[in-house]
Point group: D2
Chain length 130, copies 4
């Protein structure tokens, strides 16, 4: 799996003293981007023909600001015009959250999903896990 280390920020905590649950989607997005950089054709991030259709996050353990976090990212499914990304957030050798995201290969001009090109499909297959 692709790995990104993130240092939690103090402003990402909330008054309960732990990392706010609203921070997790931000970290998960941050970890998908370098993953995509290695997977998708070169170009500015904002030209990527991908939109998020769905996200699921299971919060397993509380996360705290003091220690670094490791976000692991891989591909769990490759469909015709969409694929699923699975991610785990670890802190202190324990998994704290698990997430699954459905990404749609999207044509912004027609505003419709389009098939994933084979060049991208092959790269995604390199990160496919069971």
């Amino acid at each position: 799996m692709h790995e990104l280390e993130i240092q939690p920020r103090f402003c990402e905590t909330d008054a309960l003293g732990h990392i706010s649950n609203t921070t997790l989607p931000i970290w998960l997005e941050a970890a998908r981007f370098p993953f995509f950089t290695e997977t998708l054709p070169a170009g500015s991030l904002k030209d990527w023909p991908l939109i998020m259709a769905r996200i699921e996050i299971d919060f397993v353990q509380q996360l705290f600001v003091d220690d670094p976090v490791l976000v692991k990212t891989a591909v769990s499914r490759i469909g015709n015009s969409s694929f699923s990304v699975c991610q785990e957030v670890w802190q202190n050798d324990r998994v704290a959250a698990k997430a699954s995201t459905v990404m749609v290969h999207f044509d912004f001009e027609t505003q419709k999903p389009t098939p994933i090109p084979s060049v991208i499909r092959e790269k995604l297959e390199g990160f496919l896990v069971e």
Copy 2:
């Protein structure tokens, strides 16, 4: 369903010109709090014995900064020590996102789930939808 109107903020957009998908969990949390204020016993928000165990969000339509958003919140399931909150995010009379959140009634001292007291259960039942 409980309703909260939210005016999108410019910093909640991203370089794709629409509302960032990372903004949705923030709005959903913002809409659950006044809902909980009407449902749960009085007290400071940070004393509430609730933690989030899971969130699912389906992104149905893009959201934009110019028009107000309506977040509708209700209860979809009441279990022994957890319950599920269902939410919809509307803009310009179209549903743009649907979410389901599992909240656990939690004892921070023992760090374990505890049964939902009947006084809370009865209030949650008033917002139960099919």
Copy 3:
């Protein structure tokens, strides 16, 4: 002064139990936008020819999540190609923060400041305070 009421969000707190200082610029921006809507020519927010050149914030009192916040916005200076916006953040009838922002009327094509048109200048003058 223009006034916007904001309900603090739980995720805007931090582990010190109060509103994170990083939240203030977000509220201040949120309050400048409806102010600009009433002041500047109609159009999508992202077409506005304004960039921020400077912000100063004095944190006078801690802010907390439980009570609504009032952000007051006015114009404190109108120059040739820039103007200054002064803002105050109130909670429970006490001022909690004061801010001053320098906005530059900017031409994104030439990437240079341009003089403020008289139609905008006149509207800004309506909100000028000492």
Copy 4:
């Protein structure tokens, strides 16, 4: 000066295609924390007796998501019960923002400023710049 490299996140952009000005205070706080870790006595971040009294930011250049950012942090003034932190945000070998923050050594019990202890003062002096 202390240096922290930050990889901009896509959600930190806004619809103008650049990094939102509301992101800068978040990066500046993120860069102050490892700086304080090396400067202040050991302990959990939330036990630090520091509150922010003032922040000033000059936005010199637009920042973009594609390239890493370097935040440089030092001390510009040490007073009796407060000190000032100066910071610069660089991208692609150009300074994009300059900031100054006034931090107050604060006693949360009495809710009043207290003198900076000599052990902290000596460490801060090691980062003092003109």
